[in-house]
């Protein structure tokens, strides 16, 4: 479950003046992890939001499990860069949010929340408010909230972008571990080549203005993965250099034209 097909997807802003995405074609298999890389403003986040129909599109189709997407789907969960926790809800209530909307019973919710609190290592913090937690802990909660509804598709919008480097690596390990126990189809938008190689089965590199798929790299590093063993893998260096060269050629014209 969770097969995604994107066909001829085009999105413009400002009445067509800015083409954010042009003719994107992408097939993502069930349980596959695809990382999307590209310069700032190349429409990565726009692409992610269109997949869950959080914003509209000009042309083209998105299909999940052969069904055209026209509104947010209950089996798709999003993890946001800004965490998006409700400040008035305690940690356990935040994780329970999606379950409550789906009308699960009290016992059901309690059991599921308990399970994910343990899985993300936040036992003992259930009754804390988000502002009492560190950024890393808040994003763990954001991840737990998404996982708790048992989605078939996980959309990650630079989820670790706001975290410091060390917390970020810990979160990557955590995510690798969690996805090993519960496989999901995942689209993971990131700025970091390293993060993309560590987490992805394939890496989509996008080009800018208009946003297009420039190239797709298969990662071909076996799972289960650990960050350190991925980095020691010969394929890691090879991919890193190839992607870096490609992004560098993308970046230069951008920096002069974009404020």
């Amino acid at each position: 479950m969770g097969k995604i097909v994107i066909r001829n997807l085009t999105k413009t802003y400002s009445g067509g003046a800015v083409v954010a995405l042009q003719d994107i074609d992408l097939d993502i298999a069930a349980n596959e992890s695809v990382c999307v890389l590209g310069p700032s403003g190349c429409g990565k986040t726009t692409l992610l939001r269109i997949v869950d129909s959080l914003i509209g599109r000009d042309r083209g189709d998105v299909l999940i499990d052969e069904e055209p997407v026209s509104r947010p789907r209950p089996d798709v969960a999003v993890v946001f860069q800004h965490f998006g926790l409700f400040p008035w809800k305690r940690l356990d209530e935040n994780i329970a949010y999606g379950l409550e909307l789906r009308g699960k019973t009290r016992d059901d919710i309690a059991a599921t929340v308990e399970r994910y609190v343990t899985l993300i290592g936040l036992k003992g913090f259930e009754k804390s408010y988000p502002h009492q937690l560190s950024g890393g802990m808040q994003q763990r909660a954001g991840l737990a909230r998404a996982m708790a509804i048992n989605p078939s598709v996980l959309l990650m919008d630079e989820p670790f972008g706001a975290l410091d480097a060390q917390t970020r690596e810990l979160m990557q390990e955590e995510l690798l571990r969690i996805l090993e126990t519960e496989r999901k189809t995942m689209i993971f938008v990131t700025h970091s080549i390293d993060e993309a190689i560590v987490l992805g089965d394939r890496i989509v590199v996008m080009s800018c203005r208009p946003g297009r798929v420039r190239q797709i790299f298969p990662v071909e590093i076996p799972r289960p993965r650990k960050i350190l063993s991925v980095r020691a893998h010969p394929r890691y260096i090879e991919l890193r250099n190839a992607i870096w060269e490609m992004l560098k050629s993308e970046q230069e014209p951008i920096s002069s034209s974009e404020a």
Binding site: R73, G84, W88, Y97, K127, P130
Partner: protein, 251 residues
């Protein structure tokens, strides 16, 4: 006792002491002193006069508060949620909020008479706009990111209100209520000045006309204490209702 409360206490003792000392040397028709006010207070309580007038005032305040919270929150939310309503009504709301509501008092008395309904309407007009406008601001202020989160989890409109809009706007609503209480007290006294039948405002007018300055000060002090008490209550509610806003608090 902290240094802060020591200074406060000392300040109170000094001010009351000076007032007591110099107040006794002034013609009692023009001014009075704390002990005389206290004596007058006891007298008015023993005769039951103070309680009876206070009850009338508080009832008006209570009715008007309940009415203005219901009406203010409801229209505030509606205005915040539906642009059409906002565009159609915001000029009137802002005009009425900016206008010194005292100007409306004679008109209200002309229309509704001198009894409780007229006073409730006057106090209601003093109170409703800060609540309405704050609620509206609170609804407008709802975090767009969180709205997107709600959409991504397929929230229904009712769930959106319950989980996002109301909790998010609640601190604004409580601040609005706090502002409204201050204005409501003004409205209550003005209404009672104008209608002059009963209430603390009427007591003030009556004892001022009778040159009984010590008794005149009793309702003044009562209104002051009432204001301080209600404000503190509102602030306490604010803390209870929105604990996530107290960023220093650790539980």
């Amino acid at each position: 006792m902290t240094r802060r409360s020591k200074v406060r206490l000392l300040s109170l003792v000094v001010v009351l002491g000076l007032w007591e000392y110099y107040g006794r040397r002034v013609n009692p028709i023009l001014f009075t002193y704390p002990l005389a006010i206290f004596r007058a207070f006891i007298e008015l309580v023993l005769s039951g006069e103070l309680q009876s007038y206070m009850r009338d005032s508080l009832l008006v305040l209570l009715y008007a508060s309940v009415l203005s919270v219901i009406v203010g929150v409801f229209f505030g939310v509606v205005m915040g949620r539906y642009a059409l309503v906002e565009w159609a009504t915001d000029i009137y709301v802002n005009a009425l909020y900016s206008m010194p509501m005292v100007a409306m008092v004679p008109l209200i008395v002309l229309w509704f008479g001198f009894k409780v309904p007229a006073k409730v309407i006057i106090v209601f007009l003093f109170m409703v706009f800060p609540i309405l406008i704050n609620t509206y601001q609170g609804v407008k202020d709802v975090d767009r990111n969180l709205q997107e989160v709600a959409r991504s989890f397929c929230s229904s409109e009712a769930q959106l209100w319950r989980h996002l809009i109301i909790p998010s706007a609640l601190p604004f609503i409580v601040v609005g209520i706090r502002l409204a209480i201050g204005r409501g007290l003004v409205g209550m006294i003005v209404a009672e000045f104008y209608t002059s039948i009963t209430g603390l405002g009427y007591m003030i007018v009556r004892y001022a006309n009778a040159f009984e300055t010590d008794k005149l000060f009793v309702p003044i002090v009562v209104v002051m204490v009432l204001g301080v008490g209600l404000m503190s209550l509102a602030k306490w509610c604010e803390r209870r209702i929105a604990p996530w806003r107290n960023f220093d608090e650790r539980e």
